[in-house]
């Protein structure tokens, strides 16, 4: 009953030839408009949306990107379809440098990349029929000479998006379609130009559960049949796992971990990935998992923390993390981690039957080996950070 999906492990991915995207040191800064006086003084502040990102996307591959809101994953996707212009760095699409393209060449490039947006209720123009919506890219790029040609192309695109029979949908308006159908129209619009690369930015998070699986399977089929590589952006880790061959975990504008999707899920190596995975709710009421809590909020992307950007929230941080920027190391073949202690930390994995050894009496999360902890005279244990916050012991009431 439960057909298993063959997973591309890291090794298989490594063997794949045909690099679609080669991105190096890609950076996007959004300047913040300062006041008149500050501008005279020459102070310049920027939001570091994407910060020195380096990755490749191979042929027929789906690269998943996960992270909290505000981590720069959407900006990263927008850069790849050149809705944003990079501040620094190189991005090569089939060997062609894209970052500096302008005018006619940019338009030619845009014909080969497409984007699927999050909300099909907003990304479709309510006053255009399905045909007009899907035919618009054809008009923009002067594809097809006659109406009949275009109709044929639109019909095919609708069929690829599994809206059958296409005639039934072609002259409807978005308000006559359900959420799932709208997203299929949005997908058909991206397919009509036969793109060589698609960025899908949270394409299923606005859809209902029962429809979601259909849209995800559709995208997987498209990859299977036509070999279109995807970048799949989502904050939902379980959805990204289902969709992707490789997963990149983003934090504050940079990748902290990048590996085959099962490697990231089953063998996370970065403390942030650990926290992210442990926060994912599991559809099984009997599942018990050791929770790793992440402290604090996302720091401001305007003034990035020095050293490792994750150190203010990291449970394993040491002095070196505060001053030195870690390297994006290849710990195992194809498994990149941005951490000084990658591979050395006792990371909790989602499938671990984790027996809690000690529980912090303040935050009720587990204290694992290697984490800084404080033991009170009565035997109660606390995380070091939590101990700073409690004045009296919650068990015996004595002062810490």
């Amino acid at each position: 009953m439960e057909a298993e999906v063959t997973d591309a492990t890291t090794e298989e991915v490594g063997k794949k030839s045909g690099v679609v995207w080669e991105v190096k040191n890609l950076t996007k800064l959004f300047p913040i408009k300062a006041g008149f006086i500050a501008s005279l003084l020459g102070k310049e502040t920027n939001v570091h949306a994407v910060n020195d990102v380096e990755f490749e996307i191979y042929d027929r591959e789906i690269l998943g990107i996960v992270g909290e809101s505000g981590c720069g994953k959407t900006t990263c996707g927008r850069l790849l379809v050149r809705l944003e212009t990079p501040t620094r760095g190189t991005m090569q699409f089939h060997g062609q440098e894209i970052g500096g393209l302008k005018g006619r060449e940019l338009k030619r490039f845009r014909r080969s990349v497409q984007m699927i947006f999050q909300d099909p209720y907003e990304s479709l123009n309510p006053r255009l029929s399905v045909f007009a919506t899907i035919a618009e890219p054809l008009i923009v790029h002067s594809v097809g000479d006659t109406i009949e040609d275009r109709e044929e192309l639109v019909r095919k695109a609708l069929e690829y998006a599994e809206l059958k029979p296409p005639e039934e949908f072609m002259y409807r308006y978005p308000h006559e379609l359900s959420g799932g159908q709208r997203q299929r129209v949005a997908i058909a619009r991206t397919l009509v130009l036969r793109p060589r690369f698609i960025v899908a930015d949270e394409p299923v998070s606005m859809l209902d559960v029962s429809i979601r699986a259909g849209i995800m399977n559709l995208m997987l089929n498209l990859r299977e049949e036509y070999g279109i590589p995807f970048m799949f952006i989502s904050h939902d880790v379980s959805v990204t796992r289902y969709m992707s061959d490789r997963i990149g975990v983003m934090y504050l504008g940079g990748f902290v971990e990048l590996a085959g999707s099962e490697d990231v899920i089953k063998n996370p190596m970065h403390p942030y990935t650990e926290a992210l995975l442990s926060a994912v709710p599991v559809p099984d009421p009997t599942a018990k998992h050791g929770r790793v809590k992440i402290k604090g909020d996302l720091p401001s992307p305007i003034n990035l923390p020095p050293g490792c950007t994750f150190h203010p929230r990291c449970l394993y941080k040491k002095d070196i993390c505060k001053s030195q920027v870690p390297e994006f190391k290849e710990v195992e073949p194809g498994h990149f981690v941005l951490c000084h202690f990658a591979g050395e930390l006792p990371i909790v994995k989602p499938d671990d039957e984790y027996v809690t050894e000690e529980i912090c009496k303040y935050c009720n999360a587990t204290i694992k080996k290697g984490m800084a902890s404080v033991q009170h005279s009565c035997g109660a244990n606390y995380h070091e950070e939590c101990a700073d916050r409690v004045k009296a012991c919650t068990v015996c009431g004595k002062e810490l």
Binding site: S210, S238, Y242, P281
Partner: protein, 427 residues
């Protein structure tokens, strides 16, 4: 002890084209300190159920059948004429109307003998207003052996129409509304509070957040402004917000902070029941996990009951003990969460759980449920799920399924509930 008791609730919306049966025969109970997850796709009636409980239905939404009791206080009940008119539209209407008549008549007798003080779960004004109509229906039903059923139906229909339309009917309706609303005003927020969907819009953007929470306190409790602000500070501490934020405006708060502020507001008066409508949908996983943990801790601490409304079945799996799965205005399966997850007895539940990816275990191919949710203004005949159901047979297209209790605390609305539960039928 049963705290919230919803019996056969029906909420219909009036639209130009007719009626939208948003909630159609929903019954469940919630005890003190219990957590229930109400799960379903958008448009299945879960939020409408919540709005019916808090009496926040929009102007065109009406409770046309059933009742909602909270600690034996009637929060909503369709008047007899409306309910009877609704019953007349069904097959086998006669026994149903008779049962309704009998129930109301017994209540009336009991009221006259004992007085309302000893009659929990009744509303004096509702009964008093119905006395004449009750007699009228009694007279019509007494003639049932002498006249044709068609004629009887017509007579009942005419009586019901006369009772529900016209100037006096409107005035009576307003009077009852006013009375129940007065009771509800005391209960709302102090005993039942609600965490609204989209924390972004739940606050008034031109008032400081601290003042908005204090307003709820000042309305319900006899305290000075200083005391109220002191209490707001305590609440902020409880949900992990910094005290200097009380003077902030909603736009200065991030999504997660606003959600916490809403939770603080919901907790302000130590309610017995919190209805959380999609409390974490707009948040990312890390914030969601934190808010859920917070809600769970606070709930344990204060021994509140909670109803979580969500479309995410895994969120429910994390926090609740009971689950109710809604589809097309009906409860498809309800009961103990472990029993339902391990041994589902409804094809829709199986479809829903099969459509969810997980990070645990092996990667499985997801199965989507074909088709889309039904149009509730014009629901399919028989079981509302049959056009999308893999197991659908002829009986499903013709007859509405019964609700079958397959195990203790586990009920399923399906013709083949037993067969699916015992594994004789596989989806």
């Amino acid at each position: 002890m049963v705290m919230l008791d919803i019996r056969n609730l029906r909420v219909y919306f009036e639209i130009l084209k007719g009626k939208v049966k948003a909630v159609d025969g929903v019954s469940f109970q919630l005890d003190r300190g219990e957590t229930m997850g109400l799960v379903g796709e958008s448009g299945c009636g879960k939020t409408t159920t919540a709005f019916a409980i808090t009496r926040l239905l929009p102007f065109n939404g009406h409770v046309v059948g059933g009742e909602i009791l909270f600690n034996d206080v009637v929060l909503a009940r369709a008047d007899m004429a409306t309910e009877m008119l609704e019953l007349l539209e069904r097959e086998r209407w006669l026994p149903r109307v008779e049962a309704l008549f009998e129930r109301r008549q017994n209540a009336m007798h009991a009221l006259k003998e004992k007085g309302l003080g000893e009659m929990p779960g009744e509303s004096e004004i509702l009964l008093a207003e119905e006395e004449i109509f009750l007699e009228e229906v009694g007279d019509i039903l007494a003639t049932k052996d002498k006249v044709e059923p068609v004629e009887l139906k017509e007579m009942l229909h005419d009586a019901g129409k006369a009772e529900t339309t016209g100037f006096f009917a409107d005035r009576r309706k307003r009077k009852i509304e006013k009375e129940i609303e007065a009771k509800m005003a005391a209960i709302r927020w102090s005993e039942i509070s609600m965490i609204f969907q989209s924390a972004m819009n739940a606050f008034n953007p031109v008032y400081r957040i601290g003042d908005q929470i204090a307003e709820a306190l000042l309305t319900h409790e006899d305290m000075s402004k200083d005391e109220a602000h002191q209490k707001v500070l305590e609440l902020f501490d409880l949900v992990g917000l910094k005290p200097d934020r009380v003077t902030g405006y909603p736009h200065e708060f991030s999504g997660g902070m606003r959600q916490r502020a809403i939770i603080a507001m919901a907790l302000a008066l130590n309610p017995q029941l919190i209805i959380a409508d999609e409390p974490t949908t707009a948040l990312d996983v890390i914030m969601q996990d934190r808010i859920l943990a917070e809600i769970r801790d606070l709930q344990k601490e204060m021994h509140m009951a909670m109803m979580i409304i969500t479309h995410d079945i895994s969120v429910v799996a994390e926090v609740s003990e009971k689950i109710a799965i809604m589809y097309g205005g009906k409860l498809f399966e309800q009961g103990d969460i472990v029993s339902i997850f391990e041994n589902p007895a409804n094809p829709y539940t199986i479809g829903l759980t099969g459509a969810f990816p997980s990070i645990k275990g092996k990667k499985k191919r997801l199965k989507s449920i074909p088709g889309s949710p039904p149009d509730l203004a014009n629901p399919p005949l028989g079981c509302v799920f049959h056009p999308r159901c893999k197991l659908a047979q002829d009986i499903c297209k013709e007859k509405m399924p019964p609700t079958i209790e397959v195990a203790k605390n586990h009920r399923s609305y399906c013709h083949f509930a037993e067969e699916i539960y015992t594994g004789k039928m596989k989806v």
